[in-house]
Symmetry: C2
Subunit: 207 residues, 2 copies
Amino acid sequence: MFKRGACLLLSGPSGAGKSTLIGELLREFDDIYFSISTTTRKRREGEVEGRDYYFVSPQEFREGIEKGLFLEWAEVHGNYYGTSLQPVLQALEEGKLVLFDIDVQGFLSVKKSPIASVTTSVFITPPSLEELKRRLEERGSDDPATIERRLENARREIEYMGEYDYILVNDDLERSRREIVAFGTVARLKRDREEVEAFIERWIHTH
Amino acid sequence: MFKRGACLLLSGPSGAGKSTLIGELLREFDDIYFSISTTTRKRREGEVEGRDYYFVSPQEFREGIEKGLFLEWAEVHGNYYGTSLQPVLQALEEGKLVLFDIDVQGFLSVKKSPIASVTTSVFITPPSLEELKRRLEERGSDDPATIERRLENARREIEYMGEYDYILVNDDLERSRREIVAFGTVARLKRDREEVEAFIERWIHTH
């Protein structure tokens, strides 16, 4: 039958509840490969190489760009961030569900990449900007300037939500949990053309 | 938030197990509108108007075609079959999940229709043509000539499965049940551009 995996790509503003829902997916499914970004920014206290990020030098990163090793990459505040293609392709080959937690720019790059045809994209949003502000303030981990910047980012990102396959409004955690697990189930039923053609070929000729 | 419904469109050869999976959806969700076809063919024993089909005269059907009342229609063996647009639009307006059990030709028409942007399409297939033959023979409701015709149709329809958003290989009923219910959950998170734009507008201005 079908052996290759597929991708589930999640975007949404900080404070939308993405991390909680990703935790839910990782608890529910044991065959998920959670895509880890590569970055040139300094490792922060508590961050682990290969869990939070792959940390590389700017030169290594630029070489990777030139060799086309990145599925997507961006420069943010003088640091590079990107997703290496190779581990994603390997996970797909192993039949895994590849999970992306990625910003809008990254999504737009993935949309033009070879894995677009096996990717289900979901934009996760809080019900309103007001509610997002309330959540960020309640969380208490950001100073007012950071919160203002996050809200500004959210305002910019939300404009792109129509580009995603699906929109999940996270206003009821129980429902959102059910929905994200359902995405974990169906996303893997997206198949690339090559595998579909091989399936049809086999299907017809077993008669 | 979002008020309008969305569509889940299922195709697949007779004997793929579609009816069982549709029964599962109807049991699981109480807000599904199961789209009923309109036909000019004679009503058979046991068939109920408005449950199995809407039965109309050829003249009524042709008038409907001229007035653009059909989402899709086809002429098969001298009879017309089609899906009226109006009840579908009303169900969407009421926020329901509209369920289509439709052949490949119908799907290709829906793909070009105004509801395409809110439709998740799934092709349901048995694991092989051999297995399909076995199931049809075991079912015992068709004579050999009908089985041969069904297999011929299946061979023709399977060629189009790559056109669908997702492919469900029905080789394990328990897994297929979980998958179809997951589709019933996520399909409604597909939103039309108009509603997305209104959401963004509201979202930004609640601040």
